[in-house]
Symmetry: C2
Subunit: 407 residues, 2 copies
Amino acid sequence: MSFIVKGFDASAVAAGIKKSGAPDLALVASRVPCRAAAVFTRNLFPAAPVIFDRQLLAFNPDSIYAVLINAGCANACTGAEGTANARQSSEQASLHLGAHEHSVLVMSTGVIGVQLPMEKLLAAIPKVVETLTPEGWTAAANAILTTDTRPKLATRTVTLGDARGVITGIAKGAGMIHPNMATMLSVIATDAFITQPLLQQALAEANELSFNRISVDGDTSTNDTVIVLANALADNEEIVEASSADYIAFVAALTELCTELAQAVVRDGEGVTRFVTVHVRGAVSDAEAHQAANTVATSPLVKTACFGGDANWGRILAAVGRAGIQVEPERCDLFIDGGPDAATRRGELQLVAGGVPLPYSEMAATEIFAQPEIDVRVELALGEGAATVWTSDLSYEYVRINGDYRT
Amino acid sequence: MSFIVKGFDASAVAAGIKKSGAPDLALVASRVPCRAAAVFTRNLFPAAPVIFDRQLLAFNPDSIYAVLINAGCANACTGAEGTANARQSSEQASLHLGAHEHSVLVMSTGVIGVQLPMEKLLAAIPKVVETLTPEGWTAAANAILTTDTRPKLATRTVTLGDARGVITGIAKGAGMIHPNMATMLSVIATDAFITQPLLQQALAEANELSFNRISVDGDTSTNDTVIVLANALADNEEIVEASSADYIAFVAALTELCTELAQAVVRDGEGVTRFVTVHVRGAVSDAEAHQAANTVATSPLVKTACFGGDANWGRILAAVGRAGIQVEPERCDLFIDGGPDAATRRGELQLVAGGVPLPYSEMAATEIFAQPEIDVRVELALGEGAATVWTSDLSYEYVRINGDYRT
């Protein structure tokens, strides 16, 4: 599969930040300036690159050339020195790209509370610029991994009037060996021609239905960041209205891309043995449905039951019941199936009707919960609110990875 | 240790509800009518005994004789039949106690979605009444256990004017073999003479600082209930004012008792290898401090780090940062020590000052996190808000117990 986006290059080198010596510095760069948009962690201990990028984007969202990403050091809880290091990395990358000094966004993932090894990083920046190539996406996607086991890339095309736009993204997911913070990073490049405010709006909309709908362990990192760069080389007519067909098509493609990456992050989460989709429908609002689905998705009792292959519906209802949303137990129905992968579907099975268990076949329920992908659907029958969240089971391996000492 | 409370008896029998054949039906009864107060789960899928007790207490909080508790079946998600069974159990116990028909509260813990085996239960009620004895507390505390490994009892005396009151309580905690719901039940008996509204207020105050401050896995059960019965046989002057010295002494003793039971529940939680105390101070309010402490206490990354004996402070700050409270990272300090058990204290060690890590001794930090009891203290330096929460680590054994199939 080709991930090439017109005018974009990517690359990766080993800067010596990861102890393993594996590639750990990636660059995604455009040959022409981009409009940039981003969503960041809401954690109140944001890492230095998050602080720096927010400032840079507030100042200059219309002329960004690149995103520089290092793995092996999160540059979080590093105070003023950390922010200065983020700035210096950005400026050096700008310099070697031949761009103006406010043109490179930065991302970091890795150990917290340790300063970036600036000597190694600065020495590697010229190399990562030199090796830029339109085919560099897979190398970049590999370099940003930590405890992830496989690179995560996705691409979509979108028809924009007479033109054809491309959107390509890479992501890294849950898990970092040292110190095992679950950091989610994604860089997305597109050649679409779109105003910066609409690019930001499109990313916010797509993010809300994709990266904001996944949970491995409910722990939000200090570094979580999704950045999209748009370099306008697709030759489409500029997207200037949120009501336009082109905007709607762009958001749809971007949401699909983000959903594919987000699901890949969950599937490659620490110790994950099952991929679990939680649908909540019939809530009084989408927000309440999301809250209920999140509560089910982060419940250790639900997640260990999924690990054990046990269709333990009492835990699912109990999680809904403590989610802080409107619920009328006597209206609740609960259904399970394999899925979304068609190979894991076994036919929908209703376990609960009106808050009381049905005399369902325990064998059929067990067969569904033995699948590597499980769908759970709670129907509240109170309104039109609906939400879907993707999560994983909680396994021995999760405890092992995260209980291991940092060194 | 004597748990005897004037005028109270307790007992336990094997009704055949637990598959093991172990005692599974307990009774705590007063020879004279009691004022009763209770706090219940806020889960919106309350079990039948919760629904029944709420109704009974609304109707008759001033003349309760007993609490009947069965283990092995939660009588939850059992619809109208479940509520009728709870009522019938209560009425039969009243009948055999020779009391009026609205005098017995009920509690259940065990498998969800299954009706109470009423034939067995009704046959056992006369026996559990016949075996009542002032020394029956330990037997009762044993009968209500499920995956708990030891009985939980506590007692306190309190000076009320010229009189001496006694408060004794039993509790069961986290873990139920079938289907592994974490249900927390407690019955407390006192001979204090106190108005019913003040008894309820005292329980609410004590509960807020004890049972509401523990977390094993953040999952709130459908059955959680704490009931206190007060039979007024201590001969103290009736406590009628919340500002009186006697009320204050009573609340203090009740809070101590509830704290001892609550901590015992955590220490005996499923798969627990470490007991962790999380203090948050300097928040803008007690409520925000509680919210932050709870977020730290329920973070899978913090809990697995405690299991691994890893002083992984980045996860603690990251949990505070996503707790939804006011935080200024550059004001945050973080301290650790063993404790509260004096045998596990190693001297307080500061890891973070002003949001940035100190050059602390990793060996000293590791020695603290190797203790079976760990204290974590986060200082936010924003206000006077403070809260303490008790929790446990997250171990392989927790995953094993809760991943095991129900049958």
